[in-house]
Amino acid sequence: MAIGVKVLKRPTAQTSYLRASVRGMALTFSHIFRPKVTMQYPEEKGSKDWTMSSRWRGTHRMLTDEQGRAKCVACGLCPQICPANCIKLVPGEDEEGNRYPLIYEIDEFRCVFCGYCQEVCPEEAIHVGWHYENAEYSRDRFVYDLERLCAQTHPVSTLWDPADPKGE
């Protein structure tokens, strides 16, 4: 060893390659009959050992009120806080002075799924959700408009609570 490699002293009297090999092979053989841990994905999407975290942040969902309108009041906080700048919001106002979004689009390709939009939303309207199977045939299908956001039905993720950081 030309360079300064530290050579550890190992016991020579008690070591046996053959016996160690045989023991290793017994171990691998016993594993053949053990239960398998593979989750066969498209058919199984969870098991008793593994479920998705309640704080998983997937694609968005816009919650609606009793009349089926989006809860959004177009306050403009979410496009403001969005670090990826992926939310497009054009506010509108009706005769009674209620603000509502004329255009509300989220580009899911640009989104980094930080969940700030959900945290900042004063009306608890926009949420990130549990949905993660997002394959589409074209890129522009990934710009979700208001109608599509309202039509999502998947569960929404829970916010991280600083008082209870591990979610207990």
Partner: protein, 391 residues
Amino acid sequence: MSPTLFFLLTSVVKMLVVFTVIMVGVALMTLVERRLCAFMQDRLGPNRVGPFGLLQPAADGLKNILKEETYPAQAEPWLFVLAPAISFTPALLTFAVIPFAAPLATKWGVVPMVVADLPVGFLYILAISSLGVYGIVLAGWASNNKYALLGGLRASAQMISYEIAMGMSTVAVLLLAGNVTLSQVVAQQQLSRTWNIVPLFIGFVIFLVSALAETNRVPFDLPEAEGELIAGYHTEYSSMKFSMFYIAEYSNMLTASALMATLYFGGWDVPFVTWNAAQGLAWWQVLVTLVAFCAKTSFFIFLYMWIRWTLPRFRYDQLMSLGWKVMLPIALIYLTLLGGAIWYLRVQLGWSYGPKFAWALAGLNLVLAVIQLWVLDRGRIVSGTAARRTA
């Protein structure tokens, strides 16, 4: 039907059948290897294509055929193309002399169930199986890639080192059989009703280890060591040419397993059955012997895979010292002692070969195995450089 025509006809049929069975067997072995590896790692492995994933090899083959063939700019064009074929052919050639079932009696004559019952059977195997290394070395050199070249170099060094121990260990079988024709080796084991594993089990262990090295399987897979050499000699190969190396590896494995079964485990001999195979057997008996042969071969294939997914790879210096300082001396000493014992039993005591003879030799093997396990294998057979420096 004239004897010549009959011979030609049966030979052609045997060739076609053996070739097909080997190719299908190799395809299935790639699947079995992956499934078994997965099972040993508590996974399921490929089980999507067809029932139990049985069509996976077909899917892989189709993929490999459709893939782009890449040629490195600086590669030697002829040898680069030739190398996969060179490594692939000997692997298939070797199987020609292995008897895979008892001879079949037909009304036109006895059909030996071996493609070519060469009188020099065993020498042929030793000669052809060492040709396989040319394919690997040429692949490594022709790729003009440093990793490939290193892989090729390692392969040649390794094969040369272990070829000798392998040859030595099998001389013991020939000493007992007194003949190098493989069908005679099987017949001797069948007639004496004692497989060669009994009188020669140390020889078998030497043969097993050398065969692992000869076929470049773990723990001797240094020529393709992923961690060090990317993929070794086949780094630059893609598409079907890459697949050829795979087929070569697995058919080598198949042949080595069949050879172990033939030399040490009685070949097609069915245990606890005394059939006189000299005049050929009926078709159902031949079928039973074929099943026996396949079962033995499959067991060794399983052993190969089992070892592969258990043991880590040797370091290069460990490989060389195991080959030259351990395997070769053990094989030489073993051969000398065994030759002496056979001479003593045969000439001095006048015994002829039979179960008593075999068990007497087994006693000698047992003594030697005890010495090997309890005295020699104490940090000496495989140890780090550090251990050897301090020793």
